[in-house]
Amino acid sequence: MAKILGALCILLGCTYGGVKISLFYKKRTELFRFLQNGLAMLETEINYTFTPLPLAFEKVGRQSNRICQTLFLQAARVLRSNKSATAGEAWQEGIAALSAEVPLTREECEVLALFGQGLGKTAKEEQLKNIELTRRQLYTVQKNAEEEQAKKQKMWQYLGFCLGAFLVLLLI
C-alpha cells in the first residue's frame, strides 16, 4: 500500500513539475503581447495627455495585465522614490524586477533595455518613434516565443510524466 502511495506521489510530483515548466512558455508569450499593449497605452499617455513619466508608468501599470504590471510599477516606484534617477535607470530596474518573475533571454532584455535608453531624453516625436520601433521588435520577439511555446510546451508536459514513470519503475 505504501509502495503504491509513494509511486503515485512521485508520478504526480514529476507531472506537476513538467506542467509548471511548460506554463512558463505560455507566460512568456502572453507577457510580450501585453507589453505591446502597455507600450500602446504609454504612447497615448505621451502623445495626447502629456502625462509625466512616473504618473504615466503608474497608470499604464494599473491598467495592464498582471504579468507585465511589475515592469511599469517598479519603474514608477523608482522614479518617485529616487529623484535623481533617470527614466532609463528606472526602466532598467523595472526590467530586473520583471526578469525575476518571468525568465527572459538576453536578446529580449536588450530590446527592452534599448527602449529605456531613449526614454525621457528627447522630444515627443522621437519618443513616439522609439515606442513604435520597440513595439515592432516586441512583435518579432512574440512570434519567436510563440514558436518556442508550440515546440516546447508539449515536450515538457510529456517529459515530466515520463520522468515520473521512469523513477517509479527504477525504485519499485
Binding site: 521512469f166 519503475l169 527504477l170
Partner: protein
C-alpha cells in the same frame, strides 16, 4: 528468477523510446541521444548482475 525484473527492464525500454521520440520531435537530438544512452546503461546495469549470477552458476557446475 523473478519475472518482475523482466517487466521492469521492458518498461525502461518503452520509456526510453518515448523519451527519444519526444526529445527528437522538440528538435533536441543531442539530448535524445543522451537519454537513450542513459536508458540503455541503466538496463545494462540490471542485466549485468544477473549475468554475474549466471557465470557463478556455470562455474559451480563445472567445479572451476
Amino acid at each position: 528468477m523473478n519475472i518482475e525484473l523482466i517487466f521492469q527492464i521492458a518498461g525502461i525500454g518503452i520509456l526510453t523510446a518515448i523519451f527519444h521520440t519526444i526529445l527528437k520531435q522538440a528538435g533536441k537530438e543531442e539530448y535524445s541521444f543522451i537519454a537513450t544512452l542513459a536508458g540503455v546503461s541503466i538496463a545494462l546495469m540490471m542485466v549485468i548482475q544477473l549475468l554475474a549470477e549466471l557465470l557463478d552458476q556455470v562455474q559451480g557446475v563445472f567445479f572451476l
